[in-house]
Amino acid sequence: MKYWEDIRPGDTSTLGSHTVTAEEIIAFAKKYDPQPFHLDEEAARRSIFGGLIASGWHSCAIMMRLSVDAMRREEMAGVGSPGIDSCRWQKPVRAGDTVTVRTEIMETWPSRTKPLGFIRRKAEMLNQHGEIVLTVIGIGMFQRRATAPGSGA
């Protein structure tokens, strides 16, 4: 298990990748973000985006999934997040795009009230052309080694 103490400022990592399909863009849009440029190929072609694009909240969800899969692989003791400093949808994510995420730890600090530690992380999503499509700077909470059950500390 990796704990808060194992995460250090400057640590970088590249998460897995995901190829976005038109079907999943439309399915997400139908449920959560039914705007024409996320929902309908024809309407999207006539919009300023020139074609179907994923909801920005869908891009964030894909970034989250890639993060959770990486946390599981590395057995990191993540326990959620109090929030996000900033999120920028810099370029549209389109059907057929293959996206990946690179991350960098900006800072870490312990909780003063709970047996947890915080990290501030910058995560950039890139498409297959190497263009940054999404940047999220957010805070993560992790268990601390000394207080983890069964850590023997």
Partner: protein, 155 residues
């Protein structure tokens, strides 16, 4: 047809309240299976043993519910064309099955785009409340509005 609300029509301080989003256990688990498979979003038993004491929605799922309420109530009457992103998102309290969410928005700031004369950026603070009036999530969106001056004559 009712005229749309353009950048020029938006006033700093404008507030709106809308939405009634009923959160179900099934939807929390379905979203989590696809996008955020952490035990406290996915599994009632594991969630009970976690620091949250029961199943809670992914924070990104709450964000998705917010955009759904905006799509249903706020966006249709507005000349918006997407958003640049958001700042200062805070997940203040867990969203749980049975919660009924609503939204309160307030216009904070308007900026004309320097690069695009047909567009303005409006900072809109959104607060997501539950049925008890507790605030679950807040954020400040950077919404793109078309400018009335740039509207095609036949509009």
């Amino acid at each position: 047809m009712t005229d749309l609300v353009y950048f020029e029509d938006v006033q700093v301080g404008d507030t709106h309240r809308f939405g009634q989003y009923a959160v179900t256990r099934e939807e929390i688990i379905e979203y989590a299976q696809q996008f955020d498979p952490q035990p406290f979003h996915l599994d009632e038993e594991a969630a009970k043993k976690s620091m949250f004491g029961g199943l809670i929605a992914s924070g990104w799922h709450t964000g998705a519910m917010l955009i759904r309420m905006l799509c249903d109530h706020a966006i249709p009457g507005s000349a918006t064309t997407g958003a640049l992103g958001f700042d200062d998102l805070k997940w203040l309290k867990p969203v749980r099955p049975g919660d009924i969410l609503s939204v309160e928005t307030e216009v904070r700031e308007k900026t004309e785009s320097r690069s695009r004369p047909d567009i303005g950026v409006v900072k809109i603070a959104s607060r997501v409340h539950d049925q008890r009036g507790e605030t679950k999530m807040t954020l400040v969106s950077l919404v793109l509005y078309r400018r009335r001056s740039a509207r095609p004559a036949a509009g």
